[in-house]
């Protein structure tokens, strides 16, 4: 296991190292610069020069990069040019919202997938399958921005039972019941596509498992189909489902950009858009690097969980 993890670690680190430089250089290659956005149209050239020097942007690129790396090493993410304040705080605030939203969506998607696919395979009924498959395809085919607006129209405007957007005023912990209501629409909207994709995958995986010889063995022992699905097929489909879950988590994070915009959810999506459009280098850099890091970590994590779930990898070798 550790061996397994160690084998994957170097390539992950290489990706991160390359990414940090790539991001740093790219961010600076984008036309437009933070000084002009900060100074606004009416600033004098001297004012702009002063701001430029203030931000350290008059230094050579490599010096800036080394400086940034040095900061990162001290876990200092720098100060935002535009929004002001520590990048660390900004990112932390946004990250909490995004993570809560994404994880809730992931949870909803996984639950829906679990229930739907188990139902489909256990019941194995033509009509149930057709209905699930239809709902599934539709859920994948409906763009997020459409479902989001339809949800708002339905549940916040026509039947005003849920908030149209925004985060719970008292945070997530103080009033969980209120928080849940604020979370519901955006999370459902975000979860829809991923849930459908997961359901599709899991149903197919379960069906494949149910065709495996060990299932025939179990059935020949007089174990009921339902029990086999629940205690055996599901357990076997789990490792690969975890991998897909990892991929879906990435997709969800990407989708969050849009959902956050629709539901005015102040997460990383809005932050990154704002940071890029303001050419807020320290913030953009950190956010992009974070994106890569999350991706790399998820990959590592799914690999490890996959390995852990599969005794063939976990234990390995022949005992005899």
């Amino acid at each position: 296991m550790t061996h397994y993890l160690l084998r994957r670690l170097p390539s992950a680190l290489v990706v991160l190292a390359v990414a940090s430089f790539g991001i740093f250089a790219m961010v600076r290659m984008v036309p437009g610069d933070p000084v002009s956005t900060l100074a606004g149209p009416d600033a004098t050239p001297e004012a702009r020069a002063a701001i430029r020097a203030d931000l350290g942007l008059d230094q050579p690129l490599l010096t800036q990069y080394v400086h940034w790396l040095g900061q990162l090493a001290h876990l200092d993410l720098g100060t935002s040019y535009r929004i002001g304040g520590q990048v660390k705080d900004l990112v932390a605030d946004g990250a909490v919202n995004t993570i809560v939203l994404t994880l809730t969506a992931l949870l909803l998607a996984s639950l829906a997938a679990l229930v739907c696919s188990v139902l489909a395979v256990v019941l194995d009924n033509r009509w149930v399958n057709a209905a699930l498959s239809f709902g599934n395809t539709l859920a994948i085919a409906l763009p997020t921005f459409v479902t989001g607006l339809v949800l708002i129209l339905l549940f916040a405007v026509v039947l005003p039972v849920l908030p149209a957007g925004g985060t719970p005023p008292d945070g997530f912990i103080a009033r969980p019941d209120i928080a849940a209501q604020y979370l519901l629409l955006p999370a459902v909207c975000l979860a829809l596509g991923a849930g459908a994709a997961l359901t599709r995958f899991l149903t197919e995986a379960l069906r494949t498992e149910m065709r495996q010889p060990y299932v025939t063995t179990a059935r020949a022992l007089g174990i009921s189909r339902r029990r086999i699905v629940l205690t055996q097929a599901l357990r076997n489909a789990l490792p690969s489902a975890v991998t897909v879950l990892g991929i879906q988590f990435g997709t969800l994070l990407g989708g969050a950009v849009l959902v956050e915009a629709i539901f005015t959810w102040p997460g990383l999506g809005g932050l990154i858009e704002e940071a890029i459009s303001g050419r807020d280098y320290p913030l953009v850099q950190v956010l992009l690097l974070l994106s890569v890091t999350v991706f790399v970590v998820i990959q590592l994590l799914t690999d490890v969980v996959h390995a852990w779930l599969d005794p063939r990898i976990r234990i390995g070798g022949t005992g005899s």
Binding site: G32, G84, V157, A164, G165, I262, S277
Partner: protein
Amino acid sequence: ACSSAVKEASSGSEDSGPTDGGTLRIGSTNDIVPASIFTNSSDAANTLIGAVYDSLIDYPQDSLDPQPRLATSWEVAKDGLSITLQLRDDVTFHSGREFTSKDVEFSIKTWADPTWTVQLQRTAAAVTGFDTSDPHAITLSFDHPLSNIFDLLDMLPIIDSESFDQLKEGKAYVGTGPFVFTSWTPSSKLEFTRNDDYWGDEPHLDGIEVDIVSDPQAQVSQLRSGQLDLITGASNRDLETLGKDDSYTVTPFDGSVQQIYVGADLANPDLQDVKLRQAIAYALDRQRIVDDVFRGQGTPINLPWPDYSPAYDAKANETYAYDPDKAKELVSQLGSHPTIPLAYSAGNANYEAVAQIVQSDLEAVGIKTELQPVENSQFIKQLIGGTFGGLWILQHGYAHYTPSTLAVSAYPFNADKNASHFVDKQYKEDADAAWERVDGSDSGAVEIYQRLNKDLLDNLFLIEIALLHFTVASSDQVHDLGMSKRGELDLDAAYLSK
């Protein structure tokens, strides 16, 4: 106990006169940017400045007649080179410190610092002498008369020098105003509570919460679902729809106006011929833009001034009335010319719609344009660098102040350097003359303004389209809203009915 987030967010309404209490929740499109907190560039920043700070004087909505605020009275020297203001002596900052003339000096000097890039920086910098010997009076002196000194005094917030470092970082905003800043969560919200020691009438509201909701559509949704009480960023069409609904109030404010215009970069050889610019001016169906895009909340104009401005000239304002035939004729005199780029800031629905109408209007008279949505950051850079190379669409402000403020402060009109690359001796002379006067509204001033109007109409480096009113929508529980000329919500008297 589980309760509904929606129910908690809204409560029943029945107006029975001003009542105390309640937090007003305002939806704002843009978050504040600490580095440019004084630039009037975001609705959240405007709300913050209006709530937390006081200015020395106040202009009423529809005139340029200064009214006392922190200054109780004032006197301008005959030569126009200084002004003495008497200050209130019962004012304290939110920190408890007493307000004195030193604070006025500090505030003006802050605005004169180019790094804050405020529009009136040149005017603030023109204030060269400060006599603060009396803590409750101050004398400001200038190198040359400043016709727009009251504009500065109206716009300038009195800031606390002690907490200035925190202001730079967006951590504290300490003023003398009716509300106390309590917190800012970047890209999420700003919170304020009532200033119980306010020198004026105590506000009715317990507090204000500004939610950053960047999508106009979402603002409307949240207003409708009762999560917000007041929104500042609704599109004009949504405002129109909300206005028809009894549960909502749509309030247009006369005093604070913006002008939408088509800019022309004279570096483009095709645009150098004034005939083409005139053709454009004639080709624009301004009334249609006002009606269709701004749903009637505006006035077609040729010159930027609102009707109470000393520079206002009703006749001149009709110089380029919609006349496509005349435009066609002008175009036919020009011969062929290539397609002209028409830039606007991407993602803004109004600009996009106006740009498309402008394009269509121009095409109808034989002027081909290509729309170029430009990302905002780059748009500003192009504006500063004067690199549009064609036409652009944008809004400007400051025409509702003393006319000279526009010419010396608003970037597109700057006689020294502007995005149009328009350099004209006459224009510069007239602009400076308007500025360096004692009085900005006497008959001599009006004469200069007429010359300025002629410069603007003859040269057409900016082709005005319409004058737009600032309009907010609120739930019917919100009452007695006000708006300063600066475009800041005035919530001193506002209250929420239960």
